[in-house]
Symmetry: C2
Subunit: 365 residues, 2 copies
DNA sequence: CTTGTCCAGGAAAGTGCTTTCCCGGGCTAC
DNA sequence: GTAGCCCGGGAAAGCACTTTCCTGGACAAG
């Protein structure tokens, strides 16, 4: 009681920018302790419900003070003291793209019950942005970082990212990638190549013989893998792909629209079937064909990749390769949460499933 | 030099859970200072490029040490020291819904250059989840919190959220809402009511006389506002809405599908036109009508709301009310970043624009 | 009655950073 | 030549927590 009285409250801290007029009522654990008439230590122990037990009287007093003051622990300070936080950093290339938002949704869902704080950054393609974000997460003492999206074929950028990720891991974090296995960390790996290959086989089986590919961005490995897989699948049936009909384009609806335009402009001949390396592009292609008055699937068939949920109702229904996107997000979350204990990264392949719909009806020959 | 030698490096800190085998190489500012042979203070000043100038020699030495050691500041510690962080918390109801991911994309975009760290939580409807998240953000000393999505008509929940937000603001944060103005904070307010009203007028002008409304979830104010606005718009033309044809349903494709089913099942009569309170539901309705062999727009016209970008290519193209979703995200970011200095919250109404497309061709009478 | 063992509570030392305050040297002004 | 003044550098005091270590009392065992 003697000391306690002398232990005057520290003066309100300097709070630098201090919003105009907004009185600052940040309440600290010390405030709680004071109000409850206990030591800071005891207050901390009650709040943390940790190993150390506290008597029921004190516990009660502290809890009451917490409620009365509306106390919320300063999580940053806690992170500094303990050396780790509950944050999980996530990067996607474009959150507005349903491919990414589906995966993110799965991840967030799986994470909800686990008391983790998910931070999403939309890095608009490019390893540079991801690099920066991983570094930021290192600064946040993030528990993990999840890099969602295709790797690029830019070797230098990839090395830089690899180094950054490795620094993050050395600092005690965990890293997971959804895409290609190029970072030396746990990876959820959609089987783009095999999926596209299977799709090619199915399309040939339906009677299609000449193909165009709307191949996505040149430097994106996912696009490359799907294109290559498709070509390989055709080749297995001795069907060759006309290089003039393999045209690049952005991974967007408009990218698909323009790539389709390029195919149509390439000459009077037309392919039996167009494979767009993702559904979003396929929708753009459909729009372009409709604008031209070309009937799908009667004149030209169209197939996509991903089986995006929100696109399941375009007309005609799109043949595609289904990837369990939400599930992939959950799998990523599980990788983040499970201790590995093993020395080598886990690679989890995710097969795609060919879904034939009306956009590629059988072609009578 | 005398002191420096004695100033032995602190022993490596206790690092509690310590991943198996993962050697912990967290490098601190002290390490940098030691390596550069300068004081902690100087190192800090160099790293922060703050007001205080440091001589070129020291600056250089520190920068070199930073590079060599791969130093990344512990942002949590910085936040503790300064009393604020660069974090912005964002809640959406469902990140997988294009409505939300578009707004989020706009927000993230606008935020990229500003050195802010965006944390997104998907709170799956419900003020309770938002409450919890705002509290979490208070613990993170977040600079701001952005609540994206409709308020519900649950008064108690709303009060709780309001209290939590107010605690957040008292602690020096800023709050922005995208939805209804019910929280007493800066708000981006889509004019749902007016938009639906205008849509109703346009549809009547096209010759439609009997309407069904797929009205969304009962407790969601956005759904309610749109329904009410639509009803009011009809009434202005002396058209009444048959209550049996106002059916609730989830804000999803499947919700729209089922609500449409309910309308069809309600009797032999059919409405001229169906208004789904958002595009996603409208797409579900289209699917249901197609399944029934009912032609849109010849037999029944369909209209939605939002003008979701990825849905712009459904067939037939959907009449809707366009909301500038990405722009709304940017506006929210701007509200977050601009100091207000005013005493009362800013409310920014966002008008919707009626877009007539083929799903509601004029009906000859 | 003494000794040893828990046990709840508190003081204090940490966590990595910022920022205030102090100090000594070089400069200019008179 | 000296008084006054910046100016770059460092020591130390925060910031809001956690956790170790200590302490005094209650209790059981001998």
């Amino acid at each position: 009681m003697t000391e306690t009285a002398a232990n005057g409250r520290r003066p309100r801290r300097r709070r630098p920018p201090m919003r105009a007029g907004g009185l600052d009522l940040r309440v600290t654990l010390q405030d709680v302790a004071d109000r409850a008439g206990v030591s800071l230590t005891t207050a901390s122990r009650v709040v943390n419900e940790g190993a150390r037990r506290v008597g029921p009287v004190m516990t009660d007093r502290v809890n009451r003070a917490v409620a009365e003051l509306g106390y919320m622990a300063n999580l940053q300070a806690r992170a500094v003291a303990t050396g780790h936080s509950a944050m999980v950093g996530v990067t996607v290339h474009n959150i507005d793209d349903p491919y990414f938002s589906s995966i993110a949704a799965g991840l967030i869902d799986a994470t909800r019950t686990r008391q983790l704080l998910v931070c999403i950054s939309s890095t608009a393609h490019g390893e540079a942005g991801e690099c920066q974000y991983v570094s930021l997460m290192r600064g946040q003492l993030a528990r993990a970082v999840v890099l969602i999206g295709s790797r690029s074929d830019d070797q230098r950028a990839r090395e830089a990212l690899r180094a950054e990720v490795s620094a993050f891991v050395s600092a005690g974090g965990r890293a997971v990638c959804v895409g290609q296995d190029m970072l030396g960390v746990d990876t959820i790996m959609p089987e783009n190549r095999a999926g596209a290959m299977a799709l090619a086989r199915s399309l040939v089986a339906l009677g299609h013989r000449s193909f165009a590919v709307l191949a996505g961005p040149r430097d994106v490995l996912t696009a490359k893998d799907r294109t290559d897989g498709f070509r390989a699948g055709l080749r297995a049936w001795s069907v060759e792909l006309n290089p003039r009909w393999v045209v690049a384009g952005a991974f967007t609806r408009d990218g698909g629209y323009e790539a389709m335009s390029a195919v149509l402009a390439s000459g009077p001949a037309r392919p039996d079937c167009v494979f767009a390396v993702n559904d979003v592009m396929a929708v753009g292609a459909l729009a372009r064909l409709r604008a031209e008055g070309i009937s799908v699937p009667d004149d030209i068939a169209v197939a996509g990749f991903d089986d995006i949920h929100t696109l399941r109702d375009v007309y005609p229904p799109l043949t595609t390769v289904r990837l369990p996107l939400k599930r992939m997000g959950e799998m990523a979350a599980n990788l983040v949460l499970s201790e590995d204990g093993r020395d080598r990264p886990r690679i989890i392949p995710v097969p795609g499933e060919v879904i034939l719909r009306e956009s590629t009806l059988p072609r009578p020959r």
